[in-house]
């Protein structure tokens, strides 16, 4: 019974190939074979509270912001 899975066989072959390339000083050719690092989760697009379009900014007489 063969205990090595197909994915593992592919991985072993790929590593051998990469080792061969680096031994030949051709490591740069191996770059496309290296999977990209997973980036961070995309940022949220949740709409913020407490903002107004610039042209609608008007403060009523009783407006009290923290800066006043």
């Amino acid at each position: 019974m063969n205990r090595i899975t197909k994915a593992r066989r592919v991985q072993i072959r790929r590593r051998r190939f990469l080792k061969l390339l680096s031994a030949m000083g051709l490591g740069i050719l191996a770059l496309p074979a290296i999977p990209a690092r997973r980036g961070p989760a995309p940022l949220s697009l949740r709409e913020a509270d407490y903002y107004r379009p610039r042209d609608q900014v008007h403060k009523p007489p009783n407006y009290r912001s923290g800066s006043e």
Binding site: L43, S44, D49, Y51, R52, G66
Partner: protein, 326 residues
């Protein structure tokens, strides 16, 4: 091109399309302001309540603590600058944790509170608000660790969901706020009063930086203001500065300075004045303001002795000690 004005904090940034506010995380995309770190914390830890520091609120209980990138202050001595002085897209580590998942994770960790902390939670306001609402529905409490540089309207709305806050009062001097924090004093004082009026359990932290805000006369004025506006029962923490970020030119605060500040504040009438960031200092512990009995002894973040009665009183004189003990 629709420019928007963010009205969350006193900066009231005008943000052009494609731009971000001063906090770096509130971004104008196609004329709508987006809270880009909503559900995207970059720091998650389970801390003891004493680390916040909150000494009169559920002592010793574990608190699920989160923060996202960004801050609306730019303190030269920031201790979390890798987190606070970056936008969300600059963080290497971002978790995807919407409010329901956050609550589930906090409960799975055996926490009874959630702390919005490390950077300033004002800049992830919507995330705090929605999570706090769910937290209350699930029987968890909400703790807001902040510099309170926030406008009154959003603060009032949030207060009904907050159970406790440790709020930084960085100095009792507007010039210090402008030069060291890139902010101003009055909005912070307004916010402190609002937190008190709205019934949020409030403790105040003042980080003492040698030569910049350690003047005893100023400390006396600050303590008197706290007593008058927030009440003599408000715990005040004097915290030790360590040189870091853009303020490496100053030494750590000498213990004697912290001792003098503590004495000054107690002489001004405050009942509970603490010293923080000094391991094993007597000012880490809580004493009865009437007879001086040691009520809670702390070493670092650990409680080594607890003598309060179940209903939060001194075991000797039965004086009621202000706080949320149950």
């Amino acid at each position: 091109m629709t420019e928007v004005v963010c009205e969350l904090c006193p900066r009231e940034c005008r943000i052009p399309e494609g731009g971000a506010g001063d906090c770096r995380v509130r971004v104008n995309i196609d004329g709508k302001l987006r809270a880009t770190t909503y559900g995207r914390p970059s720091a998650i830890h389970v801390d003891p309540m004493e680390k916040k520091p909150l000494y009169h609120f559920r002592p010793g209980s574990p608190v699920f603590s989160i923060a996202t990138a960004g801050c609306n202050l730019h303190c030269l001595n920031c201790q979390n600058w890798q987190l606070s002085q970056r936008g969300g897209e600059e963080m290497e580590q971002i978790y995807h944790l919407d409010p329901p998942e956050l609550i589930s994770m906090a409960m799975a960790q055996g926490c009874e509170s959630i702390a919005y902390t490390y950077s300033d939670p004002v800049v992830f306001y919507e995330y705090v608000h929605d999570s706090s609402e769910l937290a209350h529905q699930s029987g968890l409490r909400n703790v807001f660790i902040t510099a309170a540089y926030i406008n009154q309207k959003p603060l009032h709305r949030l207060c009904r969901l907050l159970d406790a806050s440790n709020t930084d009062l960085k100095a009792f001097d507007d010039r210090f706020y402008r030069e060291t924090n890139g902010a101003s004093l009055q909005p912070v004082l307004n916010a402190l009063v609002t937190l008190r009026e709205e019934g949020v359990w409030l403790e105040v932290t003042n980080l003492l930086i040698p030569t910049l805000n350690d003047d005893l006369a100023m400390i006396r004025r600050m303590a008197k203001w706290i007593r008058r506006e927030l009440g003599e029962q408000t715990p005040l923490h004097f915290s030790r500065f360590q040189p870091q970020y853009r303020m490496r030119n100053l030494p750590a605060t000498p213990t004697e300075t912290l001792d003098r500040a503590r004495r000054e504040a107690m002489d001004a009438g405050l009942h509970y004045v603490y010293v923080g960031n000094v391991f094993g200092h007597e000012g880490n512990s809580t004493y009865c303001p009437t007879d001086g009995t040691l009520l809670i002894q702390r070493v670092g973040y650990h409680i080594t002795e607890y003598n309060l009665t179940e209903d939060g009183r001194c075991p000797h004189c039965k004086q009621s000690i202000a706080g949320v003990w149950q």
